[in-house]
């Protein structure tokens, strides 16, 4: 690594200024659990690292307008230990809990998990299913975008030069809502998801599903938000028939690859299995609320 420069600005303006003027390949350093690994394995050689952890608001969870604002660099452990957030969004917590070991979660952030651009990232399906909004700050000001618009391909985001994600907004939860995230891995922990499913649904007073969002991870170049899966649930009581249709829609939506973590056929099959199991869990949580 020749000439790596490290900066740790203390204001958001300074972050934007550094990023805007940064040479190609420069990276944000939040938790570092992807960036440092990529540096160590010689996949990247960033000329500049901008450490954003000295800016308090980027590492906090606050309640806002009935929902939550989560700083993009908040560590996974801080998120899973936030009692109110856990109560509201157990599905997002499911995903965050699976981002590596306790040690990794001591540093890893949702912002990093999203912007690293891996289609298998564990926190992404659930935040997409949750309808999270990313607050993007850059040289042209602030914009609020749906998180599903951020990843555009493996390792690629839609962020323009000089932009970074400062926080995520999770909207207020209607009554009878529940979310869940499940993934398939060969081991119990420490694996990259072979398939990941995040489901967020809302029921009415009679137990009928009135809203649903279903996101599939690790089965396409980016996480997929699958309308056909949502349609399978909306208007139903999330009974076995609906779950069958959900599973079929999930398998049909997959565009997976063969790799060292799973074959195409396997991912297509297991996507259906997991979609069903995840919906059952989200349903149980919705019924408790």
């Amino acid at each position: 690594m020749q000439g790596l420069r490290y900066e740790a600005p203390t204001t958001i303006e300074a972050v934007v200024a550094l990023l805007t003027g940064a040479p190609a390949g420069s990276r944000i350093l939040a938790g570092g659990t992807d960036v440092i690994v990529q540096m160590e394995t010689d996949l990247i050689e960033p000329p500049l690292l901008v450490d954003i952890k000295k800016i308090a608001e980027l590492r906090q969870i606050t309640q806002e307008s009935g929902g939550f604002r989560v700083g993009a660099a908040t560590s996974g452990m801080d998120i899973v230990r936030h009692a109110a957030f856990c109560k509201a969004w157990p599905g997002i917590i499911d995903g965050v809990k699976l981002i590596g070991s306790i040690q990794v979660k001591g540093r890893a952030s949702i912002g990093g998990n999203l912007c690293n651009g891996s289609p298998a990232a564990d926190s992404v399906p659930a935040i997409i299913a949750a309808g999270a909004i990313a607050r993007v700050i850059g040289p042209n000001g602030v914009r609020e975008v749906k998180v599903e618009t951020i990843p555009v391909g493996p390792g690629k985001t839609s962020l323009a030069k000089g932009e970074f994600i400062a926080s995520f907004f999770l909207p207020p939860r209607p009554a009878h809502s529940g979310d869940a995230y499940q993934r398939f891995t060969p081991r119990t922990e420490m694996d990259i998801a072979v398939v990941g499913v995040g489901i967020n649904l809302t029921l009415d007073g009679s137990g009928t599903c009135t809203a649903a969002r279903v996101a599939l991870g690790a089965v396409a170049p980016t996480v997929l938000l699958v309308k056909e899966c949502a349609d399978a649930l909306i208007g139903s009581k999330v009974d076995d028939h609906a779950l069958e249709r959900l599973a079929a829609a999930a398998s049909a939506a997959c565009r997976p690859i063969d790799d060292k973590r799973g074959t195409k056929e396997y991912r297509i099959k297991v996507a259906g299995v997991l979609a069903r199991r995840t919906a059952v869990e989200a349903l149980a949580r919705a019924r408790q609320n």
Binding site: T188, I192, V273
Partner: protein, 757 residues
């Protein structure tokens, strides 16, 4: 004096005070405080960092290497290539060794070293590697051993002609050797069989997975002496191999073993060490080389993958009449898989008369394999124990009962020529049959499997010294690397011999100047063989103690005995004297006679074979193919458990390694011949949440050739593991897998193809 190898003095009625207990190991305190020094934990003044440039091609001719730009980079103090290693003819053992350490004519695998630098910092060393220009002529490569055997396959070595084949064609091949090992008459045996089962199996290559990457520090004097600090399973082996490939006298190389963070066979050969030595000689400064995890997976010595065909025949009342096997082992780029172990061990626990095996060793463009526990045996026992289970099902016999019906006992003449002395296979099977695990009902939705294993256990060249200090405390100089706790077990045996508390004994792990040659720590030989040597040393010291007591008392030597830490008159006829402690004798005679010590150098024989039976319950997720290990029990004969907690630890560790091998561990190669999963993320070893507690039952059928009756226990625990799990999966879902690993995609496909509900 009769050699301890001929008369061990084993006495089953001896009352033991220390052997058989589990004291805290003396080296433990350094390990729980971080003070213990492993391979990477040495820092010397002026030390440089060495880094190795590795071939990105699986097979390529190295036309030229230009290191001039790298050598000019400020901070670079030495660069080495093949030109810095003595020329040694290809196709000899030394020729293979030097080429594996530093490529000469060709790069033979992704990761093969082609050059190296030593620089004042890691970042400079890495930058220097980028400046080295290598002109490769990329050649077609072959990874799969069956493909490597096929006509037209890319050939790795022009000099290879298949050994063991009559009238082998005189043209280059990738088949190194064919071994035909047989006994009796299988044609007759199969004719007598009433049921025959024949199956094919395959296993993927895997890695030992030790957590400590190889690391060493080398330094050289101006007049050609070398000091090498490294983690190793064999300091003398490393030294002697270095003398061969670098052409330096053994007396001028001092190898000091560090503590070792796991080896399991993978550190019985060197990787970065010769490179560090050559860099140190050129730079005239110490050089440290630590391998990265990526380098460990790509370029050390992984474990053989195999293909096998196994056929066995049985009578309806359960007597196995014949067994046949055809086996293919891949050895990576150079010969050295120890595949002879497979035909010798695969059926050896059963009372078979008619066995025929044909085995092949094949090279391919992968790193040269190294041993894992019980090299080449677990892979084929995976198949044998599955066939045995199938035979048991076909005749409606309990699987342990079938193994008992055919169990080998004392007096059985093995296929490799040795006759069994007292062995504990029957006792192990009976203990398993009576065990709580085997007698508890199989929980709903789960499947239970059993499998048996055998390992020869080894002796071999071993040395050691025991020194008595003036205060009667004792120090031991041991040569065989302590992989997990042999040091304390050996100290316990010394203490038992001398009748002193184990706290009065301390051992060091010696360097190659301090003792004569020790073979590698491998083969489950250390506690057995080094124990033998230290007991022998203790007895020699005791002889000297008695001689000195006789001198003190003015009586003949035969008039003195040693018991419980005291020299005493052998009988009242000798006279009345107060017994003398070791400390008293030492204090009284040090000045006049010098120190009291015993040492021993021998090639230890009499190792007692080990046997095990594993019982495992599994649950298989029908929709995803994921296997959950619900309960596991290892029943194994240790002969005598010197330190029971250590022995349990060996059983448990081996079982969990086998679980990883069974379920998820494999090497993935891309079409370009490059390893795709060279990290712990994608080389999936079991984590703590993947496994349950591992039940253990230590059976003790002593080996009377050892003074304490012990048998090696390190390797047997991995031998039957994958077979037991496969048998359990078979009982859970109705199809017994024939391929390792039994990963979820494979299992799901197996179930779907067979329409398992």
């Amino acid at each position: 004096m009769t050699s301890i190898l001929d008369k061990s003095g084993f006495n089953p009625d001896r009352k033991l005070k220390i052997v058989g207990t589990s004291p805290v190991k003396h080296d433990g305190i350094d390990k729980v405080t971080g003070r213990a020094r492993f391979g990477a934990d040495l820092y010397l003044p002026g030390m440089l960092i060495g880094k190795i440039l590795r071939s990105p091609h699986a097979h390529a001719r190295i036309k030229s290497i230009d290191t001039s730009e790298a050598a000019k980079l400020p901070g670079v103090k030495a660069v080495v290539t093949r030109d810095d290693f003595p020329e040694i003819k290809a196709g000899t053992m030394a020729g293979d060794m030097t080429r594996n350490a530093m490529a000469r004519e060709k790069a033979l695998y992704d990761g093969h070293p082609v050059a190296a630098v030593a620089a004042t910092s890691e970042s400079i060393a890495k930058a220097a590697l980028k400046l080295i220009k290598v002109d490769y002529e990329v050649l077609p490569h072959v990874i799969d051993p069956a493909e490597a055997m096929a006509p037209g396959a890319p050939i790795l070595h022009d000099h290879v002609r298949t050994k063991g084949v009559k009238d082998a064609a005189d043209k280059p091949t990738n088949v190194i050797e064919r071994l035909d090992i047989a006994m009796g008459d299988v044609v007759k045996g199969f004719a007598e069989a009433e049921i025959i089962v024949e199956r094919e199996f395959d296993t993927k290559p895997m890695h030992q997975g030790y957590i400590e990457p190889q690391a060493c520090v080398a330094q050289a004097t101006e007049d050609g002496q070398i000091e090498l600090w490294c983690c190793t399973q064999g300091p003398w082996v490393f030294r002697d191999r270095l003398t061969e490939i670098l052409k330096i006298d053994a007396a001028k190389i001092r190898v000091q073993q560090s503590e070792m963070g796991g080896g399991f066979g993978g550190k019985t050969g060197f990787y970065g060490e010769p490179v560090a030595v050559q860099l140190a000689r050129k730079a005239k400064r110490p050089v440290k080389i630590t391998l990265t995890r990526n380098e460990v997976f790509r370029a050390t010595g992984p474990v053989s993958g195999t293909k096998s065909r196994i056929k066995m025949g049985i009578t309806k009342d359960g007597v196995i009449t014949a067994a046949e096997a055809e086996l293919i082992f891949q050895t990576g780029a150079f010969t050295g898989s120890m595949f002879i172990n497979a035909p010798q061990a695969m059926f050896t626990r059963y009372n078979l008369k008619n066995v025929k095996t044909v085995s092949y060793e094949v090279v391919s463009n992968r790193p040269k394999v190294n041993s894992f526990r019980a090299p080449c045996v677990p892979q084929v026992v995976f198949g044998v124990e599955g066939v045995i289970d199938e035979l048991a099902r076909k005749i409606g016999m309990d699987p342990i009962e079938l193994r008992l019906r055919n169990a080998a006992t004392e007096g059985y003449k093995t296929i490799y020529g040795e006759t069994f002395g007292p062995i504990g296979f029957v006792e192990t099977l009976e203990a398993a049959k009576k065990s709580d695990h085997y007698n508890s009902p199989v929980p709903k939705g789960q499947g239970r499997g059993v499998a048996a294993g055998f390992w020869f256990n080894r002796g071999g060249e071993t040395t050691g010294t025991l020194n008595i200090a003036i205060d009667g405390s004792v120090t031991l100089i041991l040569g065989t690397t302590d992989v997990a706790g042999s040091r304390i077990s050996i100290s316990m045996m010394a203490a038992e011999e001398l009748g002193i508390p184990v706290d009065k004994v301390r051992a060091i792990m010696a360097d190659t100047h301090s003792l004569g040659y020790n073979r590698v720590t491998a083969g489950s030989r250390t506690t057995f063989a080094t124990g033998m040597v230290i007991v022998d040393s203790a007895r020699k010291a005791i002889t000297e103690l008695c001689k000195r007591a006789a001198g003190i008392w003015g009586v003949p030597e035969e008039g003195v005995t040693f018991e419980d830490g005291y020299c005493r008159p052998a009988s009242s006829n000798v006279g009345t004297f107060e017994p003398l402690t070791i400390a008293q004798i030492a204090a009284k005679t040090m000045a006049s006679h010098g120190a009291i010590a015993g040492h021993s150098e021998m090639s230890v024989t009499g190792a007692g074979p080990g046997f095990g039976l594993h019982i495992v319950d599994v649950e298989v997720d029908r929709e995803t193919g994921r296997v959950d290990i619900k309960r596991y029990t290892v029943v194994e004969d240790a002969g005598k458990a010197i330190h029971p907690l250590q022995v349990e630890g060996q059983f448990q560790g081996g079982a969990v390694q086998g679980i990883g091998w069974a379920l998820n561990e494999e090497y993935f190669y891309g079409p370009d011949g490059r390893l795709q999963n060279a990290s712990f993320l994608d080389y999936r070893m079991p984590v703590a949440s993947d496994v349950p507690m591992i039940g253990t039952e230590i059976v003790e059928v002593p080996n009377p050739r050892h003074p304490y009756g012990l048998r090696g226990v390190g390797e047997v625990p991995v031998v039957p593991t994958m077979a037991a799990i496969a048998n359990a999966i078979g009982n859970a879902i109705g199809i017994r897998p024939q391929s390792l690993p039994m990963s979820p995609p494979r299992l799901l496909k197996l179930m779907d193809d067979a329409k398992v509900k």
